[in-house]
Amino acid sequence: MFAEFLQYLFTGITIGATYALIALGFTLIYNASHVINFAQGEFLMIGGMATVSLTAMGVPMVLAIILAVLLAGVLGILLQRFAIAPAKQADVVTLIIITIGASIFIRGLAQLVWGKEYHVMQNFSSDEPIRIFGAVLNSQSLWVLGIGAILVVGLVLFFTRTLIGKAILATSMNKEAARLVGIRTQLVLMLAFLVSAVLGSVAGVVVAPITFTSYDIGIMLGLKGFVAAAIGGLGSGMGAVVGGLLLGIVEAMAAGYISSDYKDAVAFSMILIVLFFMPRGLFGAKVVERV
């Protein structure tokens, strides 16, 4: 009984940590440019797929991961520079469609380069599962949690201790004012997309050994990250982490105790319930609309 609960909890926290990283990526881009980037999931896909194909070519794992993350980062910058920046005057919906176009484009490229097959990735360390109170914990889960925690702490330090991080924050608060004090906002926006892409691709790499990877995993993972970000409240880093973990745990519990067919429905019902009572998510900032 307890072992079962613990098992679902492990699964939930692992996948929840991934959702949290995706949600953080959403949050970052949302804060910097008020765009919801529907191509966020593709960064995960790039991370996983590039690592798999590079290791298959004989590149050592660590180097493969670094190259994969770099590739995603470059894609993030290109996305901002060539798709988002030229359309800055566009409507919210138009920007959504642009990022959807971008995600279809990236997916198409991935399919072209890597094919449509599912790929399996090796665990980072041993395949031996760890047993705790009768529940089984995949060793990769520890990697997901550990790297997730490092990234979150790193982000917090980045935004509070470094000048570049503060420049991103300033741009997100007021772009015009930021420009007036000498911040190069276009560069900052590109940086935000870069960091977001790095977060996404790292999440994609660490979770790949657990979930498998293929050219089209980005769609659903990206959407779940969006759900997590909205539960936490768009724009709140804290919200993204809490939202991600909450979503992962609720999903795993729903799959375990209710029905795995309906686990996604539970996730999407949860967002409706949260938004019903808190229209700006759990930690969303209250915004006064100007007329």
Partner: protein, 335 residues
């Protein structure tokens, strides 16, 4: 004379009618007719969605949910319970309207991305239910739907018909039917847009707070237009189910929802003719790109991105502005 015609209220409707009834001159096999029929049904759906997106300024990323509900209600009632097509379509549309009203009230309070999220969630939940209630819907494998029937008269893509002495095969007959449906859908939408309700909706689009200040009951109008657009989707879903003869939960899925909203935005939000153009372009594009095989997805994504970057107002409004400018230049040159 030409000028006065251009300003007539029914101008768009007349132009559309001429195009729709002249089109068969260029269609020369059942495949073309079937594609045109699909386009007309989908176009009528996005004309309804445009009321919500283009005029009231609200986003829906889950509209295929309503389309799918209509399709499945028709499928289940006509094949399992022996209902006739029209009652199934009407009752389905009413029920979907009620569902939309119930979910619309709370979610339309949400703004911007939260509204996108909520509508996306509603669409997903509907698709998941359709996928899993195998006993009722046949699950992921889908279910067959009988032909469209009115008082025992059957409209099937495989039948043959006689209209005012013209011999028509099933595909041609379906096309004419869908064309008339599209015209009616556009006419109804135009009437709604030109009514006081339409003006209230546009004020909501402009600025919701300002609209409320001048006494527009924004919540009521937003739910009203949400319900209307859901009814459009449901009714067209019903027709789509009959026309296709087979439906799967994909008709309610995320991809379809995205396709609908993309048609609206690509064609030109707030322009009824624009969104019809959007529907035509996005239905045709995969046919054209199919020749490129593996490159199809990449090209589709690239075209979508580039169009939206360089024509953020959508295809038709951009073309109209360009043509308008040229005409003005010409007129200026003559004077």
């Amino acid at each position: 004379m030409l000028n006065r015609f251009m300003q007539m209220r029914l101008r768009d409707l007349i132009i559309l009618a001429v195009i729709l009834f002249a089109l068969p001159l260029f269609l020369n096999n059942p495949f073309h007719y079937d594609l045109a029929t699909q386009m007309a049904i989908i176009a009528a759906t996005v004309v309804g969605l445009n009321l919500l997106v283009g005029f009231a300024g609200q986003i829906s990323l889950g509209h295929a949910g309503f389309f799918g509900l209509g399709a499945y209600f028709t499928g289940i009632m006509t094949s399992n319970y022996g209902w006739s097509s029209v009652p199934a379509l009407v009752v389905g549309a009413i029920l979907v309207g009620i569902v939309a009203w119930i979910v619309g009230r709370p979610i339309l309070r949400l703004k911007g991305h939260y509204l996108s999220m909520a509508t996306l969630a509603v669409g997903f939940i509907i698709a998941i239910i359709l996928n899993n209630e195998r006993a009722l819907t046949g699950g992921p494998d889908g279910m067959p739907v009988p032909a469209f029937t009115v008082f025992g008269w059957e409209l099937s893509p495989f039948g043959s018909y006689n209209l005012l002495g013209m011999e028509l095969n099933g595909s041609e007959a379906w096309y004419l039917f869908a064309a008339v449906v599209l015209l009616v859908a556009v006419w109804l939408a135009q009437n709604l847009i030109d009514s006081p309700i339409g003006r209230a909706l546009r004020s909501v689009h402009g600025s919701e707070v300002a609209a409320r200040v001048v006494g527009v009951d924004t919540a009521r109008y937003k739910s009203l237009v949400f319900v209307v657009s859901a009814i459009y989707a449901s009714a067209m879903g019903s027709l789509y189910a009959h026309f296709q003869g087979f439906i799967t939960p994909a008709v309610a899925g995320f991809d379809f929802s995205i396709l609908f909203i993309t048609m609206v935005v690509l064609g030109g939000m707030g322009s009824t003719m624009g969104v019809i153009l959007g529907a035509v372009v996005l239905k045709l594009l995969p046919q054209v790109l199919a020749d490129f095989q593996e490159l199809e997805t990449v090209m589709f994504g690239a075209i979508l991105m580039l169009t939206m970057i360089f024509m953020p107002k959508g295809l038709l409004p951009t073309i109209q502005t360009a043509v308008g400018k040229r005409m003005k230049k010409k007129a200026g040159g003559q004077a």
